[in-house]
Each structure stands twice: as structure tokens, then as C-alpha cells.
């Protein structure tokens, strides 16, 4: 994964031994992002197994052959699409002065909404993770890790300023929220809304971090 927004060029077997310049149309890579988003959307809607390459082509108004000209298989297409999604910006950390304030600040409607979209994509990919550690890792990198990294940073800062227990396991705590979100969506089929996220913050993360009751509220 190169972290850019364009689709990664899969492979270029020709080691560029340039013969005479050939006439003809060039490959139109300007539409690659549309194809990637089409793939992601279909994925979110029907999941990997029910997603067909035809669906993606149709949604992107491209020919199926065009897709196969660029990605050797459905799996590669999806892998690339997921990789491209990782290329989100990392806005500056919130800094409200308290850990709880910072965590709550992450819950803007905007953030919650597109986390929801990403969540659907993840659920759609759930079945594949077992057979493809490679894809599982891509998913983790694109969806889980960025969020966890932010949380981890907030926790570390809080620890440095002595707000939370110096012994608490920051790495583990930073993964609590996403884990609970996933299993709620997957097996409880209940909405992952602001109220739920708040209850995780106030019912698990904050107390587990060793903030005395009522501190920072």
C-alpha cells in the first residue's frame, strides 16, 4: 500500500525497455478512483461473497473487461480498494485538557457517520479475513489502526500529564472501543450511535484508565 489516493499500479512486467514510441490511446487512469469507490460501496452493501465484478463495473459505468485489464482477480481488486481507503487524513489531535473531553471530541457526527460506512465495509469483508491474513492485515491497517493510533496518543498524553494511572495498558485500551463497536454491529445488530460510544468511554475506557470517579467530567 502506497498511501496515495490513486489505485496502486499492480504490476508492470515490462522493465521499460522503450522501443520506438507507439501510437494509440493511453490507459485512462483518471477513472480508477471511481472504480475503487464503486468497489467499496458494493462491498459495504452486499459483502465480499455476494459482490460480483459485474456489479462493480456497472456501478462505475465501466466494462468488466476493463477491470480485469487492471486487476488480475476480484481479490486483487478488493485488496487494492481497501488499501486506497487507508489514505485518509489524520487531523490534529483534539486537546480539551481532559482525556474524557478528548475522547468525546472524536465523536463528531461527521466522524461517527463515516466510521459507520467503514464499519459496513469491514463487516462485508469479515468472512474473508479467516482465509486471507493478508487482507485481514490490510483491513486492520486501513480501518482499525488509524483510529486506535489516535486513541493511543490521547491516552499516552493523559498518562504523561498524570491524569491516568501510569500502569495502565495503553495499547490494549486503545483497542477496546473498536472491538466493542464491531461485535455490537455484528452480533447484536444494534445501532452504533453516539450514546453507545459514550457509554463505552464512560463505562469502560475512562474508569479502566484509572481516572478517579468524577474526575474530568
Amino acid at each position: 500500500m502506497d498511501g496515495t489516493v490513486e489505485a496502486t499500479a499492480q504490476i508492470d512486467p515490462s522493465p521499460a525497455p522503450e522501443g520506438p514510441i507507439r501510437p494509440g490511446r493511453k490507459r485512462d487512469h483518471t477513472r480508477d478512483p471511481e472504480i475503487m469507490t464503486a468497489a467499496i460501496d458494493v462491498l459495504a452493501e452486499v459483502g465480499y461473497e455476494r459482490m460480483t465484478v459485474d456489479m462493480v463495473a456497472a456501478r462505475a459505468k465501466a466494462g468488466k473487461a476493463t477491470l480485469y485489464r487492471r486487476w488480475p482477480s476480484k481479490a486483487d481488486l478488493v485488496l487494492d480498494a481497501v488499501g486506497c481507503m487507508g489514505a485518509a487524513k489524520a487531523g490534529p489531535l483534539p486537546d480539551t485538557g481532559s482525556l474524557r473531553g478528548d475522547l468525546v471530541a472524536l465523536l463528531s457526527p461527521r466522524t461517527v457517520h463515516d466510521a459507520d460506512h467503514k464499519l459496513k465495509v469491514m463487516l462485508g469483508l469479515a468472512s474473508v479475513t479467516a482465509h486471507s491474513p493478508e487482507l485481514a492485515e490490510s483491513i486492520r491497517e486501513a480501518f482499525l489502526e488509524p483510529r486506535a493510533a489516535v486513541t493511543r496518543a490521547l491516552l499516552e498524553r493523559a498518562k504523561e500529564r498524570g491524569e491516568i494511572s501510569p500502569s495502565c495498558d495503553v495499547g490494549l485500551l486503545s483497542r477496546v472501543s473498536s472491538s466493542m463497536v464491531i461485535s455490537r454491529a455484528m452480533f447484536e445488530h444494534r445501532p452504533v450511535d453516539r450514546a453507545f460510544l459514550l457509554s463505552v468511554i464512560d463505562g469502560v475506557i475512562i474508569p479502566a484508565a484509572g481516572v478517579g470517579p468524577a474526575a474530568g467530567r
Copy 2:
């Protein structure tokens, strides 16, 4: 789900208007449990999508036709199999005197091992949960809920005896462990072993429950 070990009789369209008693063989339900376990095993090994009815029949040394005689579709077969799995015994709660002791007592090698098997089944079913809330609910009931119920009971007892904070959210905390297990297995592909489970207990649940540091250890 009836909670018994035998497969649930799917439907019995005949309202028992008994004509003269007919000769002939009766349906042999003694092998149903074998079929159910075969289904569960295949599910754990290859997941719902790659599981074929032939595989199940072969493993149970039954004919595919026999399976279809009993369950109208692959989905029903799986649903029933999952339902049958819920019928585990609930041993007596551990009672070591401290919440941590009780939670650790749940981590016997036996328990951890078959939790691992159940986990594989859940991962195999992950893809279907999105399309079938019914199955998602069955899974929750068969795999998640029993474990959560035990944890919840332990937490409530600890709360009653004043060991943990009276304000802590027992319902939420009882789901922390399974959530973290699922996402670890699914996206991190790291082993769900005793060490990890201990770190969840000591790094999240115990401190989140408001046990003062070093209490009960």
C-alpha cells in the same frame, strides 16, 4: 431454539390426522446429532460460504438427500446446528472470594479450548450475520450470551459485596472480553491464549470495575 441437544423438528405439517397405521421404516433421528456436529465442524473449518452440503453429508456419512429431507435448505441446517450448540451446561459459578479470582477461574484450559472452537465457528459465520439478523441472534444466544451471563453474574455478586464500584455498568463490562477476543482473532490473527485473556482481565475489566489498584491480587 428449544435448548435441547437433539435437532429441533423443523416443521410437522401433518396435524396428526391418524389414518390406519402404516407399515414401514421410521425416520432415524438418532443420527441427527452427528449431522449437527458435522455441520458445525465444517463451518469451523471452512466458513459458511465455502461449506457445501455435500461436505456435511460426507462427514456425517449420510446422504445429501437425507439432509434435505430434514432441513429445507443449507441456511436452515446451519441455523439449527447453531441453535443446538447453545445447549451447553452451565456449571456452577466459581467462587474464589475475589472478582479477579473468579474471572481467572473461568480460564481453565478446557474452557479456553472449546471457546476457541466456538470462536472459529463464529468467524466462519461472520459473513452471514449482516444478511440474516435471525442467525446473528442465534449466534449471540449460543456463543456470546452464555459467557456474558456468567461474567455478568460474577460482576453483580462483586458489586453486591462492595468489591467493585456500585456505579459500574455491569452489562457493558460483561461484553468487553468477548468483543476483544473476536476482533483479535478476526483482524489481528493473533492467538487468543491465556496470556491475552489475562491481560484483558487485568488491563481492562478489573480496573474498569473500579477495584482499587492491587486489590484482590
